[in-house]
């Protein structure tokens, strides 16, 4: 049965149904679109693109930027974007259930010994005694939306500490930062390249590490449309291959510091095109360096962490309880941990 999605709808309106049926994969100069956020966690795509790894793999790649992870997942479902990197959210799982998207690899993960995501407290709450996550009982915790990764993190932290928190949906990261700075909410958790400058300003305080509560947390994953995952294995493999090369370059320069100071600077230079592009390099560099977190080599995927996230979403009633790992993940492309 032919599924009816937006692309086909546009095709139908244009009266050219047959022409929209996918053409067979061309090995060379296959045009693909990759969704990205302007975060260092998307460095894999940026580095691979800048170093020409996608072109080498025969992919004519276009980066498409989003303000939040949620619209990116929807854009993949609608066929406007082929690959994306984002956190596992309730929306992503729902789209997977509807047969629209599939997780195919891992991107950002928490790792012992590397500075990961931070737990933040507002100055007002901090002064009132919220100096450690154990003091979160009865506090408000910021999140973008219900079913976001912030919701997952906050919930896991609260469960581990045996406290209860109230979640405040604020839609956008900017709004959460504003609410935290002005003391409208008490606590939040976020990647280090946002957490550290905030803490540096004195308006908020870092009170803990997410990795203490969710070890080996698979923060973001690589995903694509179900159609690509099922029918375009070669395309997915070429993409992941090129992407992984970018990841290796990034990890080696920023975490293993293989190129020393120069290597870091060259990498920061490269990333500055995409991250904090609106700020001068000298101002952006600390943010980019602070944001360094390990990207999964070979886009390896931590299945245990993904499974934990899925079951949490199900336990919270945010997604259908019948969704299995097979529906969410296609583990055939990468190494699983």
């Amino acid at each position: 049965m032919q599924k009816f999605n937006r692309r086909h709808a546009i095709g139908l309106i244009g009266g050219a149904t047959a022409a929209t049926l996918a053409a067979p994969a061309i090995a060379q100069n296959r045009k693909i679109t990759v969704g990205a956020l302007r975060f260092t966690s998307h460095a894999g795509s940026f580095v691979a693109y800048e170093n020409g790894y996608f072109t080498e793999a025969g992919l004519d790649l276009e980066l498409k930027f989003f303000q939040a992870a949620q619209p990116m997942a929807v854009a993949i479902a609608s066929g406007d974007v082929d690959f994306g990197v984002t956190a596992i959210s309730g929306g992503l799982i729902s789209l997977a259930q509807k047969g629209a998207v599939k997780v195919i690899g891992g991107a950002l993960s928490e790792e012992d010994g590397i500075d990961g995501q931070k737990i933040l407290a507002s100055d007002a709450a901090f002064q009132a005694g919220l100096t450690a996550p154990s003091g979160l009982d009865g506090k408000t915790f910021g999140m973008s939306t219900a079913g976001s990764s912030f919701h997952y993190m906050g919930s896991k932290i609260a469960a581990a500490e045996g406290v209860s928190v109230t979640f405040k949906p604020l839609q956008k990261v900017g709004a959460i930062i504003g609410a935290l700075k002005s003391g409208q909410i008490d606590a939040w958790s976020i990647v280090p390249h946002i957490a550290k400058p905030l803490a540096g300003s004195g308006a908020v305080h870092i009170i803990g590490n997410v990795s203490d509560y969710i070890p080996n947390y698979q923060v973001t994953t690589v995903f694509t449309s179900e159609k690509n995952a099922a029918g375009e294995a070669d395309l997915v493999k070429s993409f992941l291959g090129a992407y992984s090369k970018g990841v290796t370059d990034y990890n080696s320069a920023m975490i293993d510091k293989a190129g020393g100071e120069d290597g870091i600077n060259a990498m920061v230079d490269l990333l500055h095109k995409y991250v904090y592009a609106d700020q001068p390099l000298e101002k952006a560099a600390p943010g980019i360096i602070n944001g360094t977190m390990r990207l999964n080599e070979g886009a390896a995927l931590n299945m245990t962490s993904v499974e934990d996230q899925l079951s949490w979403f199900q336990a919270e009633g945010l997604v259908d309880a019948n969704i299995t790992m097979d529906i969410l993940v296609n583990p055939s492309f990468v190494e699983t941990l």
């Binding site: 479902a77 219900a146 997604v319």
Partner: protein, 265 residues
């Protein structure tokens, strides 16, 4: 000389006068629903494109039976009632002052014109700082959103009050407040009420925006959560509730108009 040729004058009137046909709207509605139901069942509309109407009904049933419907509806209605009451009261008062005093008019009309096109949603973060993340900012957003259209409708309506009626009131020695209460306000009521239809519709739209920040319960929060989870059934159930709210508000204003404006010809 051709013989006199007689023929009836051709009819040229008619048309341009649509009449209401009973049930036509309902039929369009029902056939769209049936089409969607059939399309989603047979599969040519994917689960990604539209939810199945029967599933939306089921979701609505669950909302009802679990009592969540009122858990969401009560805070939303409270926000709408409180916010709109503040906005409409201030709006009508300001509109009357603009309608009656030259200095107020000259001073405030440009301000109102400047405030009107501001997307109130854009000011939400600011309102959060000013009025707090809890109910205050939500009331403020809805109040602000309903204020400007009410002001514009009210002073327009006051301008349209028959000046001879005001002269008449003065000629009978009525005081300023008596003229405003007994002549200006009732005379402006038709314009105020039709402005109210627009203001309250804007209020409902802003309800969703107001619940973007820090609302755990509420129809808007429910819709936003459903959107974030890509849960189309819940999304549509929420939208249907908002539509019903819109129809309810419109009906209530219609009833008020019928009661208060029965003097209109």
């Amino acid at each position: 000389m051709p013989e006199t040729h007689a023929q009836p004058v051709p009819f040229r009137g008619g048309g341009f006068r649509p009449v209401a046909i009973r049930g036509a709207g309902l039929a369009v509605f029902a056939s769209l629903l049936i089409l969607t139901e059939w399309g989603t069942r047979s599969g040519w509309i994917s689960a990604l494109t539209l939810p199945r109407p029967s599933d939306v009904v089921k979701t609505f049933g669950e909302l009802w039976s679990t009592g969540m419907l009122f858990k969401h509806l009560v805070p939303s209605l409270t926000r709408l009632v409180v916010g709109a009451s503040i906005g409409v009261t201030l709006g009508v008062s300001t509109g009357i002052l603009i309608g009656l005093f030259s200095y107020v008019r000259s001073g405030l009309v440009p301000l109102v014109a400047a405030l009107f096109p501001i997307p109130k949603i854009a000011l939400l973060p600011l309102f959060v700082i000013w009025f707090g993340i809890d109910e205050g900012s939500k009331y403020a957003l809805i109040a602000f959103g309903t204020f400007t259209p009410t002001v514009v409708a009210t002073y327009g309506a006051v301008d349209n009050v028959d000046r001879t009626l005001i002269r008449m009131g003065q000629s009978f020695g009525m005081g300023w407040f008596a003229i405003v209460r007994k002549i200006v306000l009732p005379g402006a009521m038709p314009g105020i009420l039709s402005g109210l239809r627009i203001s309250l519709a804007i209020g409902i739209i802003l309800l969703v925006a107001a619940e973007m920040l820090g609302a755990e319960y509420g129809i808007g929060a429910y819709i936003l959560e459903a959107g974030a989870l890509y849960d189309l059934e819940r999304l549509f159930a929420g939208v249907v509730i908002l539509s019903a709210l819109g129809i309810l508000v419109s009906t209530v204003i219609g009833a008020i108009e019928k009661r208060l404006l029965n003097w209109r010809t």
